[in-house]
Homo-oligomer: 340 residues x 2
């Protein structure tokens, strides 16, 4: 089996979990998905499918075509957990998806737009992710006629995507900035620069696992390259701030104690909920990044962060499971992963 | 250094931590300690000291004579923690103690009575403990003239000790009975049989670490042997009940989870308070007794339970320590002990 993109960590892997580029595209000859007839939908689907699978480029052979309605529920949930599809898309029983073998590229067909092309990279790599997205976009553009306006750029179902149709985002682990209470102020600064920061898991001001996403909010009047450079610049600044705070934080014996306790619980517990796991792995991630824990690699943590989610566990076991069953299977998976 | 009595576990070591026999004796020619003059006190002290250290029996060479006022505070605290002296005795700057090399026998001089002779044994061993106490009592009686009344028996400062002057007690780990909520009812049954049960550490109905002590309350109109047989009988019943409940309890996956979490925290934390330690080691003790954890011996747990107390840690480090310093030293001691 091809290794998945999230199984190794990338640049700034101690802080940056992943980078994602998403392009929204529409075929000029069809109405937006919401206004399509059933036959138009089918036609459009087939065109996109054929173009991706048979465009002559080497990469096309690495895509598989998935009909969500035919997949087990656990697998659909796991696609959402891995951010390969949106939660809305998962609810559409008729939805079709194209997925690259290493899961680093997905194409949602007829979600809000005809095409939602996504490229994922581990670590901080908006340039690399955009390069591939752009290459795929060009391949598709050669055979499909994208709705494009010389003044506005790419036309999209929702005006917030008009222009580049691009959303670039970076997922960061920011326990020190969170602990420090700086996120709210950073959020206001970042929004003035046309970006947004938000917690990924859990509600409120202290998201689970201290995992945040920053993404560009502006798609009009700015080139893709400029938006990416902007995002990268902010990310690098956040990383520097997080790093410098971490150095102080890790000198704090309470933090060291809590890192080791988290490690002790993860390597010994027999039942762990998803929420608790996110909190504990956040501490362990910090401990690994600070060099306190050297028996665990960042790759293991990244893989575990994906694999320990509810849908992934059910999929791994090949059946629907109760929450209690998942908590046990999760604890076992964690023990195995951290022992190796 | 001679191994201490608490470094190995004895009969029913998975449930019974220790057995203690205490004899109260007074010299007929002196008033009770509370009413003694300073010179009488000195005279009495010397008589007892000489008798214990020079009675011709082999064991007498193994005693050392300690003046509490000359000991570091941490060492005095640790004597209380090991139940070798009473908290009241520890406050008396002029107090003198005779202590056997393996710390299994202590003689408090001029506490409430002239002589408080104590014998400690690991596990359930009231007969063995009494045998030694009785032997020492006979040795002393040959040279000292004990206050004794043919009708009442040994005369003591407090009438609750009149008669045998003996208090026999057994310290038990009863997490299953505690969890089950049975202790209150057992307490009422036990008191009807002339015994008492009480938690050793912490206040309230759920003492820290689920450690309880049962002891005889009646010293008048009952022989030492009968009192000990009574205590042993009740202890064996409690052990049987605890064992049978544990079998059910350990099947419960929440208990198994909490045992392993406790083990994970103890083997990884960098700061542990005495109270938290007592709770966690109680769970680990249960796990070892149930065969879940096989990397830790009951001996290690018993030794740790004594050594992780505040005074023992300060004494081990050879200096007064703040609570935070002790919490760190304790965590390190626990990690070392459980790793070996």
């Amino acid at each position: 089996m091809k290794a998945k993109w999230y199984e190794t960590s990338g640049d700034y892997g101690d802080i940056v979990i992943s980078t994602r580029i998403r392009l929204a595209r529409n075929l000029a000859e069809y109405p937006f998905p919401e206004r399509m007839s059933a036959s138009q939908r089918r036609e459009c689907e087939n065109k996109i499918k054929e173009t991706v699978l048979n465009n002559g480029a080497g990469i096309s052979k690495r895509f598989k075509y998935l009909e969500l309605g035919l997949l087990p529920q656990a697998q659909v949930v796991s696609l959402v957990e891995r951010h390969l599809i949106s939660p809305e898309f998962a609810k559409d029983n008729d939805a079709k998806l194209l997925l690259l073998d290493d899961e680093s590229v997905s194409v949602m067909i007829n979600e809000e737009d005809h095409i939602r092309l996504q490229v994922m990279r581990s670590g901080l790599d908006p340039d690399g992710a955009f390069e591939l997205a752009d290459k795929l976009d060009t391949l598709l553009d050669e055979q499909l006629h994208f709705a494009f306006d010389d003044n506005l750029g790419y036309l999209t179902a929702c005006p917030t995507n008009l222009g580049t149709g691009m959303r670039a985002s970076v997922m960061l682990h920011l326990p020190a900035l969170q602990e420090n209470g700086s996120i709210a102020q950073l959020s206001s600064t970042i929004s003035k620069l046309g970006l947004a920061i938000r917690g990924i898991y859990g509600e409120g001001s202290r998201p689970l696992g201290a995992i945040y996403q920053i993404s560009n909010q502006v798609t009009l009047g700015i080139s893709e390259k400029a938006a990416i450079a902007n995002l990268r610049g902010i990310a690098v600044q956040l990383i520097a701030q997080e790093k410098s705070l971490r150095e102080k934080m890790v000198l704090d014996e309470r933090t060291v104690d809590s890192i080791w306790r988290s490690y002790g619980i993860l390597t010994n517990a027999r039942m762990i909920s998803s929420d608790e796991f996110m909190q504990l792995i956040s501490n362990v991630r910090l401990g690994v990044s600070a060099g306190l824990i050297d028996s665990v690699s960042m790759d293991t943590i990244n893989r575990l962060t994906v694999n320990a989610q509810a849908g992934m566990i059910s999929m791994h076991e090949g059946r629907d499971m109760t929450a209690a069953e998942r908590d046990k299977a999760r604890a076992e998976m964690i023990r195995t992963a951290l022992a190796s």
